[in-house]
């Protein structure tokens, strides 16, 4: 079944962890949760594919985990607070994950953060719909005008 479309699917570079993804990604997130325990971390590292058999995962989810494709994990229902536990199991800092998800080197990402982060300008909407949505709401028109 195709994913139901929502207004927030228009936000670029963003996979909102909604109820639908929460349902689909239960296996990914519970796998990640299991990595809170040292014995599980060791079992996973010893044989990743074998360890993943303990969880109910689709082929695409399994592949995303094994490839450490963090964006794909999010798209298939993983949540960042959970997938970060996989990153930690690999010995990576959170910034390493953030950099990899945004397609930057860790140094370039860290430098971007130090100089104020990623700008919202040009990153609000895939379709430019955000402007329409804002002008509809009178209560917000003042603040959005101020922001421009």
């Amino acid at each position: 079944m195709a994913r139901t479309q929502h207004d927030y699917d228009d936000i670029p570079g963003t996979f909102v962890f909604d109820a639908e993804r929460s349902r689909q990604g239960y296996g990914i997130n519970m796998f990640c949760m299991s990595l809170m325990k040292d014995e599980n971390r060791r079992a996973f590292k010893a044989n990743e594919a074998e360890y993943l058999k303990r969880f109910s995962l689709t082929e695409a989810q399994r592949e995303a985990i094994l490839k450490r494709d963090y964006n794909r994990m999010l798209e298939l229902g993983g949540n960042i607070y959970f997938t970060a536990k996989l990153g930690a199991t690999d010995g990576h800092s959170f910034q390493h994950l953030a950099a990899s998800m945004s397609g930057a080197t860790q140094d370039a990402y860290a430098e971007m953060m130090k100089s104020g982060g990623r700008s919202v300008e040009g990153n609000r909407s895939k379709s430019g719909k955000d402007k329409l949505a804002k002008s509809k709401s009178k209560s917000k028109s003042k603040s959005s005008a101020k922001r421009k």
Partner: protein
């Protein structure tokens, strides 16, 4: 009777806890963050609340995806720090106030806020980092200076409660606290935010303009904030920035007209814009039958905050 005397808004970035635990607070990057809370710690030491209600979110520590309660109130006598993958943070066990907590639960449920009750719960950085920022570093053998009632809000799975719902829950908590017979002073924390996105290709998003407007309105015109839909938080302040709705519970629990005694904002701490505000209720009418010692204490308490305010104004 018990009463809420002030509200504190604070980010709860995990890296702040790690910097504190690993003694990095003097490094220039972290000093910039921690120096913004020096005045706040003085304010907290002078305010000496009996209890703090801390509104925060759990980050896959106490709750997995097995159970996702929208509002979960901690009614236990104590809340151990959670092991978030690197062992529990080296901070004291958080002591609760079960009597006030269960009183709040009973009152707000009858006011139609269907809370989940937690009689056993671990607390993660979402709760302990703001406590550190306001109270300083305390070794695990020490004690936090006040009792804590944790209120965990789901902001991990969409949709979190609306800003309006949060604001109204704050009002219900205020009413509940007011009807508690014991003479207690309560501070309420709203934590999380400000703008940040830590997931997906847009990770690293920061929107200082939006954050500052949020703080301005939080202080002067909070009702406006209650109309902001989730889509606007996510678009403007990042997918994870939606957790700022938690600050509205804190704000709803205060008087409509408050005194802003302190504010701090810096970018970044790790991936996040750090925001902090202290708001005091103006009317601190002593409770009937309150001892004169209590009144004197209240009078003494005004001083540090006024000093902060005047310094801040310069």
């Amino acid at each position: 009777m018990a009463r809420i005397i002030a509200g504190v808004g604070s980010s709860h970035v995990p890296a702040i806890g790690a910097a504190l635990d690993n003694n990095k607070t003097e490094e220039p990057y972290w000093k910039r963050v921690f120096s913004g809370f020096e005045k706040s710690q003085k304010w907290m030491a002078g305010t000496k609340p009996d209890v703090a209600t801390v509104v925060y979110n759990d980050h896959a520590s106490a709750f997995s995806v097995d159970l996702i309660p929208t509002f979960a109130l901690g009614c236990a006598p104590e809340f151990p720090p959670a092991d978030e993958g690197w062992g529990p943070r080296p901070v004291p066990v958080v002591k609760g106030h079960p009597e006030l907590a269960s009183h709040i639960a009973q009152s707000v449920i009858l006011d139609e806020f269907d809370l989940t009750i937690c009689n056993k719960m671990e607390v993660d950085h979402g709760l302990t980092v703001p406590l550190n920022l306001l109270c300083g570093k305390i070794p695990p053998s020490g004690e936090w200076p006040f009792k804590v009632i944790p209120l965990a809000v789901n902001v991990v799975m969409y949709p979190p409660p609306t800003g309006h719902r949060c604001y109204m829950l704050g009002k219900a908590i205020r009413k509940a606290v007011k009807s508690f017979p014991e003479d207690l002073s309560v501070v309420i924390f709203g934590t999380g935010g400000l703008s940040h996105q830590i997931s997906g290709p847009r990770a690293g998003l920061i929107n200082s303009k939006w954050d500052k407007a949020f703080l301005d309105r939080l202080s002067k015109d909070p009702k406006k904030l209650t109309h902001i839909p989730h889509i606007e938080y996510m678009r403007e302040a990042g997918a994870e920035g939606v957790e700022m709705v938690m600050w509205l519970i804190m704000r709803g629990a205060l008087d409509e007209d408050v005194k802003e005694v302190y504010r701090f904002y810096t970018v970044p701490a790790s991936n996040t814009a750090v925001g902090h505000i202290i708001l005091e209720n103006k009317r601190t009418v002593p409770a009937r039958g309150r001892s004169s010692a209590g009144k004197t204490r209240q009078a003494a308490l005004r001083k540090p905050s006024q000093r902060i305010a005047s310094r801040d104004a310069r």
